[in-house]
Symmetry: C2
Subunit: 416 residues, 2 copies
């Protein structure tokens, strides 16, 4: 099945909004094994929308639209598609009731009622977050059409709960995916290492880049979920074994999620002392709901004076070695651990740039220390190599700190 996505909305053409809808649907189609050949965006203009939809219906088996289902006069997607596909729009009682419920007592404007008119004979895709329902139907020419609302907060649950199951049911298929999350090896290097394992068509394996890390997605398709699972798992295991300990999880979606979950399971507590990352590590840990069980204290100690006052980093150490040094990173990790009375302490000091670099200590040089009360491990990020943005440096440093904690938790070497 060949698919095409059409996003509708003048705001996308003005650069007001990044089109994440297309990416979200593209990734889901890829998971479902459906080929996406074209995507396009068109403004709230009936003639150009009509042209684009007719072209899509003529060349693709599945046409998915996002946006233009709302109550305003600009919202023309349904009307235009229905006309192009030769379908009438009919009043859908249940959707009308659901819109009423969503408005929670507020009177429904005349314009809002039009959201309850849907192509005759369609399958309604319920909107549990907003007012505009989506829909799916087959044209007389056998083409499949699906319409989703534009706001990602409405699109994402509708696609997950109704859209993807609709597509799977039509094909009597089940899909199982597993993500293998990797930190410490780049996407292209991983692709090389597992090249022979990514050639199959079922299960498939594909590499994806993420900020400062990557993941491999293994997807299998079968008649039932159990069969798909049985196809998927062996390849996922093989890839995990091949990649070794750079794989940090096949369950958690991020290093911080894994670290918070594992610390919590063992009743361990962590404290952080950050200089160049300026609170980013604490922020990432506390992004995770329930992090209060494992994280009690973080310190952002930018000034040397504060490193000494809050973390007991000796003044003469700062003078002798400089704030960006292995010694100071150690002292920060040990200091915050003592101060917070936690099981683990992390210290990060480095030069995030763009200013502040010297030939001996270039931008990008970062020392990260992890203290467990017995030993203090230090990882050094080199400041040489190609220049990266301040944001990248800070993200990479905080990811390295989380990676050290997860290695420590797994009893693996906390690599320098």
């Amino acid at each position: 099945m060949n698919a095409e996505i059409i996003s509708v909305g003048t705001e996308l053409l003005l650069g007001n909004t990044v089109n994440t809808d297309t990416t979200i649907i593209a990734r889901e189609l890829s998971r479902l094994g459906i080929n996406l050949l074209f995507t396009g965006t068109v403004g709230d203009n009936p003639a150009r929308l009509d042209f684009t939809i007719r072209q899509a219906l003529s060349r693709s088996d599945l046409v998915i639209t996002t946006g233009g289902l709302g109550p305003t006069g600009d919202d023309l997607t349904k009307e235009t598609i229905a006309k192009a596909a030769g379908k009438k729009l009919v009043f859908h009682e249940e959707s009308f009731r659901r819109i009423q419920e969503h408005l929670a007592g507020r009177e429904m404007a005349e314009s809002e009622k039009k959201q309850a008119y849907l192509p005759e004979g369609c399958t309604v895709l319920k909107n549990n977050v907003g007012t505009a329902p989506g829909c799916a139907f087959e044209t007389d020419a056998g083409k499949l059409v699906m319409m989703f609302p534009g706001p990602p907060s409405e699109l994402i649950p509708m696609l997950r709960d109704y859209g993807a199951p609709y597509l799977l049911k039509r094909e009597n298929a089940a899909i199982v995916s597993k993500n293998i999350h990797v930190f410490g090896l780049g996407e292209s290097r991983v692709a090389e290492l597992i090249a022979d394992l990514t050639e199959g068509s079922n299960p498939t394996a594909a590499t994806y880049a993420k900020e400062c890390e990557m993941f491999v997605r293994v997807t299998a398709r079968a008649a039932t979920e159990q069969e798909a699972e049985a196809l998927c798992q062996p390849l996922a295991d093989k890839i995990t074994a091949r990649l070794g300990d750079v794989v940090y999880s096949t369950q958690a979606d991020s290093l911080e999620e894994l670290v918070v979950r594992e610390l919590s399971a063992r009743g361990l507590k962590l404290a952080t002392a950050e200089s160049c990352t300026g609170g980013l590590l604490a922020k990432r840990i506390t992004d995770i709901p329930g992090s209060s069980d494992v994280f009690e204290m973080g310190a952002v100690t930018y000034a040397n004076r504060i490193k000494t006052m809050v973390l007991d980093v000796p003044e003469d150490m700062l003078e002798r070695h400089g704030a960006v040094s292995e010694e100071v990173a150690r002292a920060m990790a040990e200091g915050i651990r003592r101060k917070a009375g936690s099981d683990l302490g992390i210290g990060i000091t480095g030069i995030a740039g763009p200013g502040g670099g010297t030939p001996e200590k270039p931008v990008g040089l970062v020392y990260i220390a992890l203290s467990d009360g017995k030993e203090t491990y230090v990882r050094r990020m080199s400041g040489t190599g190609r220049p990266r943005s301040r944001e990248y440096q800070r993200t990479a440093a905080s990811s390295n700190a989380l990676d050290m904690v997860r290695r420590w938790l797994e009893g693996k070497p906390v690599l320098p």
Copy 2:
């Protein structure tokens, strides 16, 4: 002039990468007063790329492509467009030398040389960040074609430094834009308030949403920059005056940039104590290069024990009022200010969710305090209203804290 953008790359169709290139170019075209009517994405497939490009050349005056200029066999954009436009690719000596320089001694692979072949008679758009140059040329049918590399880190400077000036020069025009940044009023409310000021065609004024805030962009077009400036400024001033003190800047691009710059200019220092925002405020402040001049210390005090130990928040206050209370926010702001010896101290305590809410203290309730040593101001974010994500709550709380500081700095009322 009607424009169309075509993004080339199978990775976009697999949902591997969000297409930010299109948004970046769309926004720039909007600023330049060029109508964007269509955007599309097509994979690394010669037949479909050829079809898409020929269609674009037939219906649009300006066709802009992104991606597919690199050294691999997949990179087909130049070849396909040149063929569709009837242009030969010719060797471009200077681009070849620039690629060599970029490789810094590493030998150039045969495949990399093809990046130096460009459509005959084109204007080369230099790549100061990567190897693949962009280009711009006019077809025999009078259509304008521009090609940019896919990575945003290469596209953004090329568009700004060579792409936009090329378009402006062709039209003998200059463009001046001013952004009016607003915190504390939503985009739709601002659009209502300035509706009568957004109707003109030169200068134009348009509203844009940003995370937890918005901005108005005023753009004027004229023969020279001075004339454009003279057209732009009066409308910008009018809008700024109309909106009043919710406008935080027409210079700085973010609240944190403004706050760091203004604190620095006055030699003032700030310290932060965060609970529910978990380091996000410190992270945002230290995102700004040079923040070390104004920010010496941040504390992330999740546990009550730590609030008492680090910030001297009285234990009985925590017991009586709870950690999420006006009293504790005050004590945190005053405590961190004393501890750090800074001019200003901020304390944030609240319930970011999704768990932890009660009927009296719902998810989203946040108290933010700002202490200047004489007075302590408190702003309360209500936890009622429609539910928001943890991320939104935390961003909004940190933005409110920054807004309080900028109001204090400007001598304006630090609204509750």
